[in-house]
């Protein structure tokens, strides 16, 4: 197969620019979609269909007072929001947008993604701890527990795909889906990964670290201005990342009929999953904290292990 050679600089610029342009745009997308599902219109005044509300929001965030509470640990307080953005952006390095269009074509792609998403937990913990506020700390504790426990079977649920494809490289995994998307043999794995992905990006209904109704805003209670904006954008980039990874691992990445270019297929699939993320937010209530942990450890973890072992057994049987 012919893989067009593109200058690495252009790829980096393309991925970085694309992600940073789309992530704030998702704020608008989310508000419009939520409104659509709640019989409202959503933002529709500024610009065509209200798109410029993103610009207004960003300007507002920039002009807000950048307040560091006197009781906070200044250095950690400032560093925490950067960590979430950095780790998520780093994860995009391994996402193949179309054949050859990947920043770092590495043979441990999936592992790199898992490592980086685990690092993201630090931003929540450090942010909540450095705020020196009891609600922030509670949110951070919840966030840490949630992310660590969902991390476990998030990684294990991916192993089914790795077994099928025989590679950790995302390009190889996508190529291995030419015959059949992995969502069909790995449906359980897909469901588990998607649930874990929601928990990992701490999106609703698993927004327990934030939980406006009980913890004000959880770990980012004390943040304002662009530092809060970083957490916010990091969350949206996390949604995009999980959607992109799901697309690559289970829904054939850029593969699709020829009438559209590969990159278009990738974007369509990714945006469909972003839509599902928002639909989840629109329809489901937040579970209690202990329910979340129980669900993770008592149901999803055993299910993942069973799924992994059955997959391995089937593959071994097929090879024999």
């Amino acid at each position: 197969m012919h893989i067009p050679v593109i200058n690495a600089g252009w790829i980096i610029a393309g991925v970085l620019g694309g992600v940073l342009a789309i992530a704030p745009g998702l704020i608008w997308v989310e508000r419009r979609l939520l409104a659509l599902w709640q019989d409202r219109y959503g933002p529709n005044r500024a610009g065509p269909f209200g798109v410029l509300v993103v610009l207004a929001d960003t300007l507002k965030l920039f002009f807000k007072e950048d307040w560091i509470p006197p009781f906070a640990d200044k250095f950690v307080f400032v560093v925490a929001p950067a960590i979430v953005v950095i780790t998520v952006l780093m994860s995009y390095v391994i996402v193949p947008v179309s054949p050859g269009f990947v920043v770092w074509d590495v043979n441990i792609g999936v592992l790199f993604f898992l490592a980086m998403s685990s690092m993201g937990a630090y931003s929540i913990i450090l942010g909540g701890w450095a705020s020196n506020n009891k609600y922030a700390l509670l949110g951070a504790m919840r966030g840490a527990a949630q992310m660590i426990s969902y991390e476990v079977f998030m990684a294990l649920s991916l192993m089914g795909v790795v077994l099928h494809a025989g590679s950790f490289n995302l390009q190889d995994i996508v190529e291995a889906q030419r015959g059949m998307w992995f969502v069909i043999p790995q449906f359980v794995g897909f469901m588990i990964f998607f649930i874990a992905g929601i928990a990992e990006t701490h999106r609703l209904p698993f927004d327990i670290p934030e939980a406006e109704s009980e913890l004000i805003a959880g770990f980012h209670s004390e943040y304002s201005g662009m530092k809060f904006g970083m957490f916010f954008v990091g969350e949206y980039m996390g949604i995009m990342l999980v959607s992109a990874i799901v697309t690559c691992l289970y829904f054939g990445g850029w593969l699709g009929p020829d009438f559209l270019p590969p990159i278009a297929w990738f974007c369509i699939k990714t945006f469909a999953f972003i839509g599902v993320f928002i639909l989840l937010r629109a329809s489901l209530p937040r579970p209690r904290y202990d329910q979340l942990m129980e669900y993770g450890w008592k149901i999803l973890l055993p299910l993942t292990l069973v799924n992994l072992m059955v997959t391995a057994a089937v593959i071994l049987y097929m090879e024999k």
Partner: protein, 171 residues
């Protein structure tokens, strides 16, 4: 699991429902005739002020936003010297309308009274008075009250009998 998918599907179907939003400045809200909005002072059918300055509205007002001063004209007809409503305090509860014995003060279906300057929300009598009877078209307080004012003596009001001469035994 099934109920989660069901609720997601139901939420998804809301996409095709009618929007609840009213696009306000272009599309006006439908206000019923009893809607309690801006307060007006009405006149009776002869274009005389209905308000008799009894202070009941000011007394009924829970936020004390009404202030007035009653005087009398040469005919003995009472009217407010000034009548002032501070709409930055008004809560549009309608108690003043209920308290008013002469239907003078009325709440009308209008809420578009935004101002940049807070002081502009203090309405004086000239802002409040309208040239009409409001919700009670035929009502004229002095024509039905048994009060003697200039041009109308006792017993001359509508449906009113001549006053009884209590010092006489004649029928």
């Amino acid at each position: 699991m099934l109920s989660i998918i069901q609720s997601m599907w139901l939420t998804f179907l809301h996409m095709f429902h009618k929007r609840e939003t009213i696009q306000y400045p272009e599309e006006k809200v439908k206000l019923t005739t009893r809607w309690r909005g801006r307060i007006v002072l009405t006149r009776d059918p002869d274009m005389g002020e209905r308000c008799v300055g009894c202070y009941l509205c000011a007394a009924a007002c829970p936020v004390d936003c009404i202030s007035l001063q009653a005087t009398e004209d040469e005919n003995g007809r009472r009217y407010p010297d000034f009548f002032r409503i501070n709409f930055s305090r008004c809560i549009f509860c309608g108690f003043c309308e209920e308290a008013c014995p002469t239907y003078a003060i009325q709440l009308i279906p209008d809420f578009e009274m935004g101002e940049y300057n807070r002081q502009n929300l203090v309405y004086e009598k000239k802002d409040l008075l309208i040239d009409g009877p409001g919700k009670y078209p035929g009502y004229n307080y002095y024509n039905v009250a048994g009060l003697a004012i200039g041009g109308k003596d006792k017993g001359e009001a509508e449906n009113e009998l001549e006053p009884v001469d209590v010092r006489s035994l004649l029928p």
